[in-house]
Symmetry: C2
Subunit: 233 residues, 2 copies
């Protein structure tokens, strides 16, 4: 049988995004965190083994995760940090800032406005809303708190806002979610400890702080247990 | 060949805790969330299929996760809600309250003191500390803010405190972590956007809010992508 010449350069795989596991997307953010840190330290390259060690994710998974999006790095050399960072940012949709509103100007909302993590990571807070008349027109950092009754109008005239962060008590969270969804917001991050009802075309995540503590509780209560597998918390 | 009588009642499996995957522990908290919700609604039982639907976790995983800890539920009937809730709480070490300190009495620390999610979930805030002299002796809810220089002494005389929550800026987080660890704290939840160095016998989780937004960013940018697999965010 005739042996065909086969290109040894793997081609970018033509996998539809819907086939990429959710856990891969979570791990991409972990790779990005490491790459950002090394980049800030002025380090220009990282070997595969080092990337695995820094992220505590095994090499099989690292290769598999990245292979969904094409070829990264050079065999036997590793990854160029600035290139890998840019690729990860492209994949995650972070090359342009996501304009973000925060609803809820209590302690949590105020903490979020000041949260270091959002700064320079592509999430630009553009407005802060609250329902409490005594808070409206007061300032948090550079923001004047606006009435939640202006939220729809604001979003209708600022169509480039893509993400809404809900930092109101549980009792008001679904009402705010409905306003955000009706105004065309594509992504919602909710801090209230309830499960929101959102349509399928809206991306929704909930930060459940209790879950973090429960997982810590398990490992405190079972000191012989070792964390194995993916670590998302 | 003689057919032996075999007990059809599966025995509690004798699996050491260290063999239980981390992702199972994460899912146990999701089962607990659903069971709590149904319990609050006065619902006393749930079928396997309903538990899968409510948690959006497939039936194979649900069975596998629970099987690590023995037998729950009745074949063809489902689960008794109060029993399953108690079992999950036992596994996760939640039957006795974890006494918890918060370090950092800024907006985030204040929000955490008031956070509904911790209340009645077995995490009892017992003290709040800050390094800012202007905050010390002021009150947040029922707590008088104490000086961070009193933290070690407090923990040495309150050995039943197991968890420390770090809500200080990134620049001070490792210093606080070192104090907590030196005082025998077993679990740390850190909100500062940095990676802490902690010894192996201390359980440590970081709440990385940027990760949540990056995952939302991916699904907004790739609207055809569907979340598959475990959903932890």
């Amino acid at each position: 049988m005739e042996r065909k010449a086969v290109s040894r350069i793997p081609r970018k795989k033509d996998i539809a995004p819907k086939q990429i596991p959710y856990s891969t997307i979570v791990r991409l953010t972990q790779y990005l965190r490491v790459v950002e840190k090394l980049n800030d330290l002025g380090i220009s390259g990282i070997s595969s083994a080092e990337l695995c060690e820094e992220t505590r994710i095994n090499s099989f998974l690292v290769r598999k995760d990245l292979s969904y999006f094409g070829e990264f790095g050079t065999r036997g050399v590793g990854y160029d940090i600035p290139s890998l960072r840019l690729e990860l940012e492209k994949i995650l949709g972070l090359t342009e800032a996501h304009r973000t509103v925060i609803v809820g100007a209590g302690n949590l909302g105020t903490a979020l406005v000041h949260y270091d993590g959002f700064k320079e990571k592509g999430f630009k807070i553009v407005a802060v809303f609250d329902s409490d008349p005594s808070k409206i027109d007061k300032k948090i950092g550079d923001f004047v708190i606006e009435s939640v009754f202006m939220l729809e109008e604001y979003l209708n005239t600022n169509k480039d806002v893509t993400i809404g962060i809900i930092a109101v008590p549980a009792s008001g969270a679904q009402f705010i979610a409905n306003l955000l969804i009706a105004s065309g917001i594509k992504g919602i991050l909710c801090f209230a400890p309830i499960q929101l009802m959102v349509p399928d075309d809206v991306v929704y995540s909930a930060v459940d702080l209790t879950t973090y503590l429960e997982i810590i509780s398990y490992y405190i209560t079972n000191p012989d247990a070792r964390r194995t597998g993916d670590m998302h918390y």
